[in-house]
Symmetry: C2
Subunit: 149 residues, 2 copies
């Protein structure tokens, strides 16, 4: 049996921290006319070329009906391309434009600069361990997190 872990729940530390980080991003995003979802979309397309809108929605944890307005605006602003796939005209191939890639890099740099300010509160070794650990946990398959395995 595990000894009684005398610590706050992991979720109780992580969820409010996530909320605060999101709140800290808000002004940066607003300065570039982006909503949080728009930024998430840009980031995901930047990292992972995605074929269908449904796959994109699933990957970023959004409902597929909800990203449509987001994509509409990103396309209208020339930040993404959304072209019918010649091989299957039902699907819209999604990709970043040069402008979209550039904007995403600019915003990401600003966001990470703010985050660096916070990470400065940690000892360098802890900071590295934190990022490494978060990556490990974030990469766990969802079933493992949910405990359904």
């Amino acid at each position: 049996m595990a000894e009684p872990a005398n610590r706050p729940d992991l979720a109780a530390m992580i969820v409010p921290l996530g909320r605060s980080l999101m709140a800290a991003e808000q002004p940066i995003l607003a300065a570039h006319g982006l909503t949080m979802w728009a930024y998430v979309v840009l980031s995901h397309l930047s990292a992972t070329p995605t074929r269908t809108q449904a796959a994109l929605a699933d990957a970023i944890g959004a409902d597929r009906t909800r990203i449509i307005g987001v994509l509409d605006e990103l396309q209208q602003r020339g930040l993404i391309r959304r072209e019918p796939d010649p091989a299957d005209r039902r699907v819209r191939l999604l990709s970043l434009t040069a402008a979209g890639r550039h904007l995403r890099e600019t915003v990401s740099a600003a966001i990470q600069a703010n985050e660096e300010r916070l990470l400065a509160a940690l000892a360098p070794a802890d900071r590295r361990a934190l990022l490494r650990s978060l990556r490990t946990l974030a990469d766990l398959p969802r079933e493992r997190l949910a405990g359904t395995d």
Copy 2:
């Protein structure tokens, strides 16, 4: 100038992780007839005696009108006490009953047992560093997180 930090945004790792952790808590909470907010209230009252409902709401990041229904049910189930302060009859003094304290401990143990399963994916040193770092970041004053200082 800081070198380009080649990492995902902190928020992009933490927020989905928090969502997953919350989802993992859901069945445990439901098994004990608790909503997330109810559990948050029990946990906070367990750790920090709180005088007014407004202070409680503020501390847990909820709107003060929103916890009323939560408190109603917790009180009705005999998990918390909510007594008018004799010194100022506007305020309701909040405290856990023995039953409330016990339930909170039971649920917390179950939640942390699941979390231990996840933390097992980390090297022991990383695990310690993660918890230490999260605590440090979670304890930062909100203004520092928000970058308004």
